[in-house]
Symmetry: D2
């Protein structure tokens, strides 16, 4: 079972990363640190005669990685009540990726992938993070993907999330869920 | 009355821009096309001993522009049910800006600014754009700003928004609201 | 074109009623004042062997009225950030109505009906009323209905809504929309 | 520590009741089965010269019970993506209760009470129940109450919730939280 974790944080070892590592403990996985990649913001050419231009950046790598994955984990700090800008820039490019003729199976593949969203915020995240969860739902719905699991945790200072007992508990359940998923494959 | 419009689109003359131009018709205003600026994603150093590093990009220009403004208009296409990644990257940097000692009045200034959010989307935006509006509310609340007006319009193909009669109507009301605001200043 | 307006308010001539009357100006319509009807809260018997018991209250009247209608208008004050309890009690009974063998065409009929939601609140309704709009969307989605129009207005003291220029404007547009609908039938 | 549980369900031993009993296991508590009480829908007289009329129903009992409580648990099935109509009718009457001169300490008391919301639904409750959570947040904010904990569980057929491993796990955490709360009092 191939797991890919997208880290949306600007920091290494940030709370959302620590949380993700609890969730995937014992599994091998690929990590994609979005902050280290060069991803150009989408240029909306859905309505151009010639369609989108191929971008010379790291997005193809992301597409290839998704195509190899059975499970995608989106792990983001909650910046201003939503996913990080870095992750949003990556999401926006889906509009291009699903129309990219070099990857004809991309959209179809997404529909068989399992998805987890992990988010850590400092300002009442379990309430004020809910609109973000609704947006992820709309995103996955549009793409025909299932939205299997999400976990919102609280953390402000580095390492805080490990003290969020509820989140630690839920991360164990998610870990168990991954094990069950693996068995069923 | 100084008005600044932030354009979050990746295109010139996109629907969200057309909508904004209806709203500010007859007013002079500054426009900031985020797609043309170099804005580095936030590096979260709130908990670093030395705090944030000054970035050598175009963000100072944005801060200066905000400091001169009485009205801020955030005009964004709805990409994947939220503001564009480009605009989100800009918003994320507020975390740094409000802590930037070179701009001690920035946060105070924000609290006297009037705010309009304009958004145009293609997939049931008046429903599926609502989580984004809630997020803007949380953002402005956090910053002590008022959230005066928002307008969600529908548009998919270029120019569509001009056919959204309801939006055109609301844009006239917003234009009138700006006139009343000017009178009261 | 048969229009039915459900009034969820506890008062006659409340703001949500005034708003509805602006919207249907010039049309004949049936009004259902929920406060005057006897509607028993749902008793959830979806999983009972014998199913739901027929209730001896005014709900059949509501079903008959819906079956005659081309347009349904739900007009409610925003009480505690949602529709009034009286209206919610009525909505809850849909679970029974769609399973009621005496009305085999009820669910099918709903799917051809046009729907408007009107809501008036006093505490930032255009923001804090949004979760209610999302709930209506889920309700109509579940029932296979389209959610054609909604209008949120501000009003606290009796008559206030008539001073909400934006709402008055939108109500004119809704009125026009009803005229177009009538023409197309 | 006095705990009061409001049951919003129309059934005894429904899923939301089973969930609540897991949460309060080992504690003594008062239960209020709203379906068994006579609660008249609010008649909005905030703007009447004479104010609200005292209602001859069971609401005073609810107020007295709240005044004795340290912890309030609102346990509701998710009917049509929100709390049950029966519970909403009860909530609506808060508008009257906080103005009732016979209970001058009511609003003040609420601000010292701990609150848990428990909800069980059958149609993607962890996503589609989120607007309801946002509404509870607005309600508690308005009243100056803290919104301490919520738990959304999945269940459709009677007893289902006990099979929702995630919810059972969270209910144990809530139980533990109640124990800690008791110790701190």
């Amino acid at each position: 079972m191939n797991i890919t974790v997208f880290f949306g944080s600007s920091r290494n070892n940030g709370n959302s990363e620590l949380l993700a590592k609890e969730v995937v403990k014992g599994f091998s996985y690929e990590e994609i640190r979005l902050q280290n990649l060069n991803i150009v913001p989408i240029e909306d050419k859905r309505h151009d005669l010639n369609g989108f231009s191929i971008q010379d950046d790291d997005y193809d790598f992301i597409i290839h990685q998704i195509l190899k994955s059975d499970v995608l984990i989106f792990s983001t700090p909650i910046y201003w009540y939503s996913m990080s800008g870095t992750m949003k820039v990556m999401i926006d490019r889906f509009s291009q990726a699903i129309r990219d003729e070099r990857f004809p199976n991309f959209k179809e593949h997404l529909q068989h992938v399992k998805v987890i969203v992990l988010a850590v915020g400092g300002d009442e995240p379990r309430i004020k993070g809910l609109p973000m969860i609704q947006q992820f739902q709309y995103i996955f719905d549009f793409l025909g993907m299932s939205f299997d699991q999400y976990l919102i945790a609280e953390g402000n200072r580095p390492g805080d999330v490990l003290l969020d007992e509820k989140a630690m508990n839920e991360s164990k359940l998610l870990n168990k869920w991954l094990h069950q998923l693996e068995t069923s494959m």
